[in-house]
């Protein structure tokens, strides 16, 4: 399917540009956060900007451009957003749990120890 950008009406182009800039901006911000935040557990939060509204904004922009440009509803980009959302927890949990396992094995005082999940009160500030 090809769409000539000249066929896309101005209102759709402006709307798509807004969503594209929003999505790309949030993703960039998440990447900067990933590099600059001080601890591992804080870092895993930053890229979720890219996997939620970062991807969502770009998907939205794509749907607007192709729907407005081809004159029929184009929705299959929704699947990209859906699969990104559903698969993110798999990698995040794997990374998070391995980090937690290592920190617990090393008796790191900033994480709740083995078997006593309610011991978070001992490290109220976490980091």
């Amino acid at each position: 399917m090809s769409v000539h950008l000249a066929d896309v009406p101005l209102w759709a182009a402006i709307l798509a540009a807004f969503f594209l800039a929003l999505g790309a901006g949030l993703t960039l911000l998440g990447t900067i956060g990933l590099v600059r935040l001080p601890t591992f557990y804080q870092r895993i939060h930053a890229p979720t900007l890219g996997t939620s509204w970062g991807a969502g904004g770009m998907v939205m922009a794509s749907m607007i451009v192709f729907t407005a440009g081809s004159g029929r509803l184009v929705l299959h980009e929704v699947l990209i957003g859906l699969f990104v959302t559903v698969t993110t927890p798999v990698t995040l949990m794997m990374l998070g749990r391995s980090a937690l396992y290592r920190d617990r094995s090393e008796s790191n005082p900033h994480v709740p120890p083995f078997g006593r999940a309610d011991a978070t009160a001992e490290a109220p500030d976490g980091e």
Binding site: L26, L29, G30, I32, G33, T39, Y41, Q42, I44, H45, A46, T48, L49, T51, S52, W53, L75, H76, V78, L79, T85, V86, T88, P89, L92, M93, G96, R97, L100, V111, P112, A117, D118, T120, A123, P124, D125, G126, E127
Partner: protein, 160 residues
């Protein structure tokens, strides 16, 4: 019906996905129905129980709440990363859960993880507690309340 189509919802979703990707035409509808039926029989060979959905109306409600929360927490985390909002301390919160339904837990983990600012780290099945890491932790009770009252309660309405 169950013998013919072990997972009706999954089959329907697969068929919709096929038609979204391939385009809607009579031939594609036939292929989509075939693929969906075949795939749900393949899954039934794994022996997973199909989750029973009790209240369909609660699904759009939960989706709306989650959509709103994702937008708000995106802005909050973006604000912190930009230095607009001052960052309080990050930390772990243990959240005791009520539900033990695997489907509810799976969806809860997706919600908690997709929302920027909270990450589902570890689940203790024996205690039915989940360890969540919160990016901007001001009040532990607030986050426990958010996860149990805002998400888990609605998931339990859907699945139990």
């Amino acid at each position: 019906m169950r013998a013919l189509l072990p997972y009706p919802l999954l089959a329907l979703m697969l068929a919709i996905m096929w038609l979204l990707l391939a385009g809607v035409s009579p031939g594609q509808v036939v292929i989509a129905a075939g693929v969906a039926t075949g795939a749900s029989h393949a899954l039934s060979a794994l022996g997973e129980a199909s989750p029973a959905i009790r209240r369909w109306l609660a699904i759009p409600e939960l989706a709306g709440v989650v959509f709103y929360d994702i937008v708000v927490s995106n802005l909050e985390v973006a604000g912190i990363l930009l230095g607009v909002r001052r960052m309080r301390s990050a930390g772990f919160v243990t959240v005791p859960l009520t539900t033990r339904s695997p489907s509810a837990l799976a969806i809860l983990s997706i919600i908690v993880t997709s929302t920027p600012g909270t990450a589902w780290i570890d689940y203790d099945a024996a205690r039915n507690e989940v360890l969540v890491h919160v990016f901007d932790l001001d009040d532990e009770a607030h986050w426990r309340h958010l996860i149990t009252e805002r998400y888990e309660r609605r998931l339990m309405e859907i699945f139990q």
